[in-house]
């Protein structure tokens, strides 16, 4: 006798109970707190905020914990929460020149107005696993006053820290940044994207794109697949103020500050009959301290601009529809992992077809050919 497998509901319930138990781990160990995650796993939290497209360190910490440290799962949780939030408008453009700078480096000039500020970076650390790498100790001797450079516009004794691209732009050596048209930008979370896309759509899609995916694509351009001859004009990380123009009030109100990493990649451009030789920009902007992502984004952004700059197309990183349509890790993981859902019905149809074709071939060619096909 056969009775078809039943009990999907009970199985799901039990699986989720087990998940909760495994998430907690050994109950004799203290439960990890959200504050600990937000303070000590900052870069994980930053990545979740960046690719989740929601700036809220507490919620991101909660997502990291709920996801057992699986960052794509955490990003997914944040996205699913974000989708329920009302959207009441677009903020004023943030001014990264007025950033409270915690890190700022340029690879194109040895020194420049505002100086180089290393900030909290893994760069130049020796990747030696162990206590001597500074996990314990050392930290309490650091004077927090050197943590940042206050360059908020209007602050006493300091002007905005000019961006390297602004310095180059003053001589016309680099293409100007597109002017702010004052229009509300396209919102990829509220309108379906159609290709080809405009700049705002491209940047938004890249900003929430998967870090690993963009890293690989950016890397490919360095290895010759659509080379753009990039230099890091500047990377800066710090706090910027976000403000909102309230129509009802008739003036701007500050909504608070958020942390951003901005990368301006300066790339070569030999000029055309119409335009003189000039440097061009690749732009990366990401929530939190996500330097690898900002750099990768800038490389890929520049690669995608091949058409407007009259370059030849041929590399994967230049293919807009390919690059943008596959950059979202929540979409990608969902669709890849859906393969573990049941596909009995379609598989049955294929099974039937393969059996029929094998039978036909066996009938045509005799038993020897059939054995060969079975190997």
């Amino acid at each position: 006798m056969y009775v078809a497998a039943k009990g999907g509901e009970k199985a799901i319930r039990n699986a989720h109970r087990l998940l909760a138990k495994r998430r907690r781990g050994n109950p004799n160990l203290p439960d990890i707190t959200l504050a600990q995650i937000a303070q000590q796993l900052t870069l994980a939290v930053d990545r979740v905020m960046a690719e989740g497209s929601l700036f809220d360190p507490e919620l991101a910490a909660l997502a990291v914990k709920q996801a057992r440290g699986d960052l794509i799962e955490a990003i997914f949780l944040i996205r699913a929460f974000r989708t329920t939030l009302p959207r009441f408008g677009a903020s004023r453009p943030v001014d990264t020149a007025a950033m409270l700078v915690r890190r700022r480096v340029s690879a194109t000039f040895k020194d420049l107005p505002g100086g180089q500020l290393l900030g909290p970076t893994f760069d130049y650390t020796h990747r030696l696993l162990g206590a001597s790498a500074g996990v314990e100790g050392q930290y309490d001797e650091v004077d927090d006053a050197t943590d940042h450079v206050a360059v908020l516009a209007g602050a006493a004794g300091a002007g905005p820290m000019p961006r390297v691209t602004d310095l180059l732009g003053a001589d016309g050596l680099i293409e100007p940044s597109p002017a702010d048209a004052g229009e509300e930008p396209f919102d990829i979370t509220r309108t379906p994207v159609t290709y080809p896309v405009d700049r705002a759509t491209r940047l938004q899609t890249l900003a929430r794109g998967d870090e690993g995916y963009l890293l690989a694509l950016g890397y490919s351009t360095q290895r010759g697949f659509g080379r753009t001859h990039p230099f890091v004009g500047e990377i800066r990380f710090g706090d910027v103020e976000v403000s909102f123009f309230a129509e009802e009030l008739g003036f701007e109100v500050s909504l608070g500050t958020l942390q951003l990493t901005e990368c301006q990649m300066v790339t070569q451009f030999t000029g055309t009959a119409q335009a003189p030789p000039q440097f061009t920009r690749g732009y990366g902007l990401v929530f939190g301290q996500c330097e690898r992502k900002a750099m990768s984004m800038a490389l890929v952004e520049r690669s995608l601009r091949w058409a407007e700059l009259g370059e030849e197309k041929g590399a994967p990183a230049q293919d807009e529809e390919f690059v943008l349509a596959h950059s979202d890790n929540v979409q990608a993981t969902g669709f890849v992992e859906h393969l573990k859902l049941p596909h009995y019905v379609d598989f049955q149809a294929e099974l039937d077809l393969v059996r029929r074709m094998r039978a036909e071939r066996a009938a045509e060619a005799g038993p020897e050919a059939f054995e060969e096909a079975a190997e």
């Binding site: 039943k6 799901i12 319930r13 998430r23 379906p192 294929e350």
Partner: protein, 317 residues
């Protein structure tokens, strides 16, 4: 087998309580009827209306991120959320079955967020969300069938670019599909597409029927029920209005044919239905049972029995 709401079941829409430690965090969250806010539902309904007006045409819509993964039915869930009213009776199937895990999860989602009545009986449902099957029992004009669609573009595997396929549809240039089907015949002697078999809707658009077996294709033709298709990740909705001509593509000398099973269902003895193959042992033992669980159980209750029937369904589970 009907799914009673279980207070112990994990909540798909809110963070689980054991993950939230003490401290000022989220206030208790309240979600709208059927999860989505009314503005979003209105946007989806507009897309649905357009889809009904242009049968088989893929209407772009601003799909939202849902609390289940892309590829697991987010498109179908959004369409269902947009058409569902408080008086509706919902049935959710996956592979024809009401008790497959994803069907259970989606049914639970709407029980929780919409509080609607649910059923496993095809005849009792006013909205049926499905993945990969059309119920065996003919649908009526009082019903809506919502399909979950992974890849809405029937030309996708022939031409990966949206910019190109859009043009091909605009020009009704479907030669590529016919070439693919022809190549199947040239190579294998017959058409080797067994599911997601392309159809022409109302004499105009070629449409992907979602990965239903081609066995189910004829049920789409002149169907009294409204058929809606939602693809969340790809952000597309399309529709077949009631009583619309749906033709599976074929050739005069190679007419469209559906699968036939040699044996009847081992549980209910049904013939002319789609069957799942179940492997019984490691010595080649196997049996075939109805993929549509409701159809099978209804027939068993009516006294139809197959060769391996062993009592009332569920009695020995």
């Amino acid at each position: 087998m009907s799914a009673a709401p279980d207070p112990a079941a994990p909540d798909p829409a809110t963070p689980e309580s054991d993950a939230a430690p003490a401290g000022p965090l989220l206030p208790e969250l309240a979600y709208n009827f059927a999860y989505l806010d009314e503005q979003t539902k209105r946007m989806i309904r507009r897309a649905i209306l357009k889809a009904i007006a242009i049968p088989g045409y893929q209407v772009p819509f601003a799909a939202r991120e849902m609390p289940m993964p892309y590829g697991w039915g987010t498109g179908g869930v959004q369409v269902t959320a947009a058409v569902l009213g408080p008086d509706d009776v919902l049935k959710v199937i996956d592979q024809g079955a009401d008790d497959t895990t994803n069907a259970v999860a989606i049914r639970g989602f709407f029980e929780k967020t919409a509080g609607v009545a649910t059923t496993t009986r095809t005849s009792e449902a006013s909205v049926i969300q499905t993945r990969h099957r059309i119920p065996e029992q003919p649908l009526t004009e009082r019903q809506i069938l919502v399909y979950q669609v992974p890849i809405p573009e029937p030309l996708r595997f022939l031409e990966p670019r949206e910019t190109e396929t859009r043009q091909l549809h605009a020009l009704a240039e479907y030669g590529l599909v016919h070439v693919k089907l022809y190549e199947d015949i040239a190579r294998h002697g017959h058409i080797a597409t067994t599911y997601a078999y392309p159809v022409e809707v109302a004499g105009r658009y070629v449409m992907d029927p979602s990965p239903i077996p081609k066995f189910d294709n004829p049920k789409m033709d002149d169907c009294p029920a409204l058929q809606l298709f939602g693809a969340g990740r790809e952000k597309r909705i399309y529709a077949i209005p009631p009583h619309t001509r749906v033709r599976s593509l074929d050739f005069d000398d190679h007419p469209f044919r559906v699968q036939r099973f040699a044996e009847p269902c081992a549980m209910c003895g049904a013939r002319g239905v789609y069957l799942d193959e179940v492997i019984l042992d490691d010595r080649g033992g196997r049996m075939f049972v109805c993929s549509d669980t409701d159809h099978c159980e209804t027939r068993q209750a009516e006294g139809h029995h197959g060769g391996m029937w062993g009592g009332a369904p569920g009695a020995a589970a």
